[in-house]
Subunit: 199 residues, 2 copies
């Protein structure tokens, strides 16, 4: 359970890549992380937003230096991330989110997110940043954006250890698959910002 998100996701994807037939050709073989990376790259290319995936946090124990300007890490361990995977800047707004995949057809298990990550999302919200989750139900081939407000609302109102897909359908935003960008989540952020301004 203490694999970093990236690695974990890759393993999950490899594990299910044999029964991907129910996924669209567009998505087959590409993880949510991969699609978010090309999406964020596209946002940068068109000078729209500067959002990056943070490097995987690791604890380096042993490093060899075969030559002066070369270093090889010989022993290191994955550490639990203290924050979320993605953050950056969009039109003056601080953006911060965590992205997860699940093969479940019915619900998203909350133990996919570390408690301190939820605390982090809460703090970002409180200090006028924009924080949310992006959750893909790979088997259903549906990707949702769920705001931190809705996530916290759910966790306060229920003691359940997972969020049913219906909650995402009702309280979240379905992110339609596209080509450029692959996952246009900023389109939803635009709605949210607009809503805030109107409200």
């Amino acid at each position: 359970m203490n694999y970093p998100n990236g690695i974990k996701k890759n393993i999950t994807t490899k594990a299910k890549s044999t029964n991907d037939s129910n996924l669209s050709h567009k998505n087959r073989g590409m993880t949510l992380e991969g699609e978010l990376n090309v999406t964020n790259e596209y946002y940068r290319d068109i000078d729209k937003a500067y959002i990056y995936k943070k490097p995987t946090p690791i604890k380096i124990v042993k490093v060899d230096y075969p030559s002066r300007d070369k270093a090889v890490i010989k022993e290191a361990y994955f550490t639990i991330p203290s924050t979320t995977d993605y953050n950056g800047l969009y039109n003056g707004y601080y953006i911060d989110f965590e992205a997860k995949e699940t093969i479940s057809k019915t619900s998203f298990a909350l133990n996919n997110i570390h408690p301190h990550q939820i605390e982090h999302l809460k703090n970002i919200n409180k200090h006028n940043g924009i924080s949310f989750l992006i959750v893909r139900f790979t088997t259903l081939n549906m990707t949702f954006l769920l705001t931190t407000e809705k996530l916290l609302k759910y966790m306060e109102e229920t003691s359940k250890k997972s969020i049913p897909v219906d909650f995402f359908k009702q309280e979240g935003y379905l992110i339609k698959d596209g080509y450029t960008p692959r996952i246009d989540y900023l389109k939803i952020i635009d709605e949210l910002i607009g809503g805030k301004h109107n409200g």
Copy 2:
């Protein structure tokens, strides 16, 4: 030259730790990175800002799995960071900066910052984020905050490969050493924000 900033700084510090006598007791043995980490931790503790150092970017080549829930990285390499070391959220503002130490008494060599990092700082500025450099002249025991505007101004107006300490004194902001927080750079950001609003 392709060590990551963190590692590089540690090596530098170890290298100079023998002739630290001219550094104040408060700073002796603590790197700029270390002081920024405790400062950012303090900002979080008092619920003032949520700014973190990004993990060191590495390319993982070989991972062993001695047991199901244990992973050991056996071969990995440091990669050049695509962005800056620090970013986060302060009162709705996106904060982004790079921090460097130099043992030079006279100037800060620009090759300490990768061109794409400068490009990144420029992009952050353009999109209404707050970006800057924090540069410590360890031998002089002086730490400066230099805004991206001033950095770009200098690079446009001169073809020099280094920034003299006098430029930092004139165009930058001296960050006074403290205890809590150790390096109160947000105090300077408050001035900059206030200035913007008044201007």
